[in-house]
């Protein structure tokens, strides 16, 4: 076990050296320590490993690749492309050739099917950019109590980026969306490892597909999408969890009946009525459950890291980010005493309703010893975060108030 870890740490170190950075075992230990509360086996199996073109990220699984962003990157307003998390369901992931790539717009609820290359998108449609949080539905699943099966994500299946692309609604309008359209169905270039595995196909209600903020994006933070984040084009559904943000997008179909497929049902479901969400996906609802839709209001302390140390008498910078489904963050509160009293943190610049909001707070500990910092955010829809986890069997929407313990000496 030790040998394997040393080898892998060494390989991550080699990547850092190649980039002119120093491998710092202390920093690496801190990054992995953010895993506290994850299942023991997940902590044991985690390592820092770099996919081609990426910095070393926290490896959850090699194949399909699931890699999470270390918390320290969330000190930045925009998450760097080479540190952005990677999440796949299926392991056959082609390197898409841009020259050969086409986006097919079709389905029975469209007047005239289209097949568009990148040059067509750029030439015939308005290009727009917006900032938005991309977060896996299962972010923080690993902290679920009791634990539930799935990728045991810590805090890092999330990132904020500027997405540049064309509006999906412009593509659908060009193809002549018919009135009977109920859902828009999306497929992509990745494929299952065996024939019988359900292909990863997702749908959106027409109203959400026609929202002016739903994009077919080809740039992220001013650069072409990285391979691992969906090159050459991905769906961007701001405010909704990343399960709808189809990577390596190849087909868009308008259909007149609700799409039936494993990844819509039973996958990605939340119990009805358990979460304070406003956006509904009515055509997919059942008696018991409903597809996950918008992100619930949430926040993260990125500095200090959990189990950090600080000197008595100094003012400690406490900072992080807060986000929601696009209603807008109105306040972020910090507790320095484990939740008895709360005070307002300072909000950073508003980067757009779908972006996260940075916040900061100066903490001057009055005594040495152990301190617990808590954070909670409020949004314009009047929602905040629960003190107790809202448990659900898939471990979605984990927005229980986060806790960071620090040692003051």
């Amino acid at each position: 076990m030790r040998e394997r870890r040393d080898f892998l740490k060494a390989s991550a170190g080699a990547v850092l050296l190649a980039q002119g950075l120093r491998w710092n075992p202390v920093a690496a230990a801190a990054e992995l320590a953010a895993a506290q509360g994850l299942p023991g086996g997940a902590v044991e199996a985690a390592l820092l490993e770099a996919l081609p073109g990426k910095l070393p990220l926290i490896k959850k699984s090699f194949r399909p690749p699931n890699f999470e962003t270390p918390v320290r990157f969330f000190n930045e307003a925009y998450t760097p492309n080479n540190a952005f998390f990677v999440r796949y369901h299926l392991s056959a992931i082609p390197q898409v050739d841009l020259q050969a790539w086409k986006l097919d717009i079709g389905g029975e609820a469209l007047e005239k099917p289209l097949s568009l290359g990148m040059a067509d998108l750029l030439r015939d449609f308005e290009v727009v950019e917006l900032a938005a949080v991309c977060m896996c539905s299962g972010n923080r699943r690993g902290f679920s109590q009791p634990h539930v099966p799935g990728v045991q994500w810590g805090h890092g299946a999330i990132g904020n980026a500027k997405w540049r692309g064309v509006r999906l609604r412009d593509l659908l309008a060009r193809a002549g969306l018919k009135k009977e359209a109920v859902e828009i169905v999306f497929d992509a270039a990745d494929a299952p490892p065996v024939e019988k595995t359900p292909d990863f196909v997702k749908s959106l209600p027409v109203w959400r597909a026609m929202d002016e903020n739903t994009l077919v994006a080809f740039e992220m933070n001013g650069e072409p999408l990285p391979h691992w984040n969906g090159f050459p084009a991905r769906l961007v559904v701001p405010g909704w969890t990343a399960t709808y943000w189809m990577k390596h997008l190849t087909s868009v179909s308008a259909v007149s009946q609700p799409y039936k497929g494993f990844w819509m049902n039973p996958a990605y479901r939340i119990p009805k009525g358990k979460f304070p969400v406003i956006d509904r996906f009515v055509s997919q609802e059942t008696e018991a459950n409903t597809p996950i839709t918008e992100m619930v209001v949430n926040s993260l302390i990125s500095t200090p890291e959990n189990e950090g140390k600080c000197a008595a008498g100094a003012t400690l910078d406490v900072s992080g980010v807060a986000w929601d489904g696009g209603y807008g963050i109105t306040a972020v509160e910090i507790s320095e005493d484990g939740g008895s009293t709360w005070r307002n943190a300072q909000l950073g610049a508003d980067l757009g309703r779908y972006a996260w909001r940075q916040w900061s707070h100066g903490f001057k500990p009055a005594r040495a010893g152990r301190h617990t910092l808590l954070v909670r955010a409020f949004n314009r829809a009047g929602a905040t975060q629960p003190a107790e986890l809202i448990f659900n069997p898939a471990g979605y929407h984990n927005n229980v108030v986060q806790r960071v313990d620090i040692e003051v000496a």
Binding site: G41, F62, I93, H147, Q152, A191, K196
Partner: protein, 92 residues
């Protein structure tokens, strides 16, 4: 997107950039069976990551899902032996 099986294999091998060969499961009866079957679709760290909080019933449900929902070509007797191994080595 559905692709011909041959192409799939090529893609699969191209996508294994990182070092999944470093993942070592615990010794025990059934390990080879687990390695031979589960690795068809995913790296073996999925097993480590999802431990040790599943009891026998939990592992049974996971293996069942892989076979019945995900279509893993695993025989009934192999599936049973796989559950035995997972419950014994990676169970709660």
């Amino acid at each position: 997107m559905k692709k011909p099986a041959v192409l799939l294999l090529l893609l699969l091998s191209a996508s294994v950039a990182a070092d999944e060969g470093s993942v070592r499961l615990k010794d025990g009866e059934g390990r080879q069976l687990v390695e031979a079957n589960c690795v068809m679709c995913h790296s073996l760290d999925y097993i480590q990551m999802n431990s040790p909080f599943l009891d026998r019933k939990g592992w049974e449900a996971s293996v069942n899902k892989m076979v019945k929902v995900m279509g893993a070509p695993v025989s009934e007797s192999d599936a049973k032996a796989i559950v035995d191994y997972l419950a014994a080595r990676y169970g709660k």
